[in-house]
Assembly symmetry: C2
Homo-oligomer: 198 residues x 2
DNA sequence: GCACTAACGCAACTGGAGTTGCCTTTGAGC
DNA sequence: GCTCAAAGGCAACTCCAGTTGCGTTAGTGC
């Protein structure tokens, strides 16, 4: 069914195929932003991109593949890792970044997609792995400054700082304020200083 | 479209209507357990329950209504609030409970459903509000024992203890071990003892 | 126990997502 | 610049979720 191998191992990466892929990727993101994951259909993506729907079905295999491909695109994009000069400030900025960027329909569409199909789940996991790895430099800088001991698990601290925001946004569905995000970051820092993270 | 008012304000709660509702509720849970949210269709629920699909569409309005109704049912069910004798033990038990119960397809189906439609999201939020309120007694008991100060935000501490588990399970899609859950609980406790939660 | 109507069952219909067979275009290799 | 196969376009089809109009059943109230 799904033949996503084709997406990475193009036999003809040069001309039309590349253009088609780009058009479909952009159309997918636009559709996600407008209608969310539930409203994402191959037909709409095909119409918006100017690519025939048969082609989309053949190369992406359906909605699943579109999401996975768009996620791959998103992962490659750079993002600003906070650098405020202090660990507390960085963690707070990170948590607030997550809190404020997720009303964005695209981001939550990705999470919704991952709940429904395995390909999207794998892609999302890879996405966050990359993010966590990058965000860990916040902690490494703090270690260099002597703010925390070198034994602390950097990525774990990052996860801990943003986890409450994620849980509220996606699981318990509570509204999340900027203050909630800051408190989550502070709690994570307190736990790290208490030695819970190694 | 959706006419869920009918579900609570039955004109004929006595006989057939009640039986139909119960049959559909059970069928919905069974279908969710087997096929998850993505595989939940009105037709299958109708077939399994022995109720005609037209009836299901009219009373529940579609998949959305089925989910919301099933969630209401789940909320009413009692669950065992941990009571190990210490706050640390209770929080750990709580986090492990969440970690171990969520490979359960029904639970994650609810979360998936909430991502896609507003009715399910409202129902899920009410569900977790009830759970958090009940779990808060863990903290109140600890206050009585003098383990933490009376100023600590009880529900917030509960949320903090389970949030990393939720985030891993549903957002970043990482595998979650029992040790991860325990560490999350310990981190929340450390934050509370450090005075971050009020 | 009788009438009345809310609620359920039924079958036929609608619409759109996904599939298939065939033809046309395009770019890679020589 | 010519050839050839991979990739895209097209139209017609299937299939199934969701809808509608109408007939049937069974609680409720008297």
């Amino acid at each position: 069914m799904s033949d996503q191998k084709v997406l990475s191992g193009q036999k003809r990466p040069g001309g039309r195929s590349a253009r088609v892929r780009e058009a479909v990727r952009q159309a997918t993101l636009a559709e996600l932003a407008e209608h969310g994951y539930g409203g994402l259909t191959v037909e709409n993506v095909a119409a918006r991109s100017g690519v025939h729907k048969t082609t989309v079905y053949r190369r992406w295999g359906g909605v699943e593949g579109l999401i996975a491909d768009a996620l791959e695109l998103a992962r490659e994009e750079p993002w600003p890792v906070p650098d405020t000069g202090s660990l507390r400030g960085d963690l707070r900025a990170l948590a607030v970044l997550v809190q404020s960027s997720f009303p964005d329909a695209i981001a939550s569409a990705f999470v919704a997609a991952a709940m429904q199909n395995e390909a999207a789940a794998r892609a999302l996991r890879a996405f966050y792995e990359a993010r966590h790895r990058q965000a860990a430099q916040i902690v490494r800088r703090a270690v260099d400054r002597g703010e925390v001991g070198p034994g602390v698990d950097a990525e774990e601290l990052v996860r801990l700082a943003v986890a409450p925001v994620f849980a509220r946004l996606f699981v318990t569905r509570e509204p999340v304020t900027r203050e909630d995000a800051i408190r989550a970051a502070d709690a994570a820092l307190a736990a790290a200083l208490a030695g819970v993270l190694g």
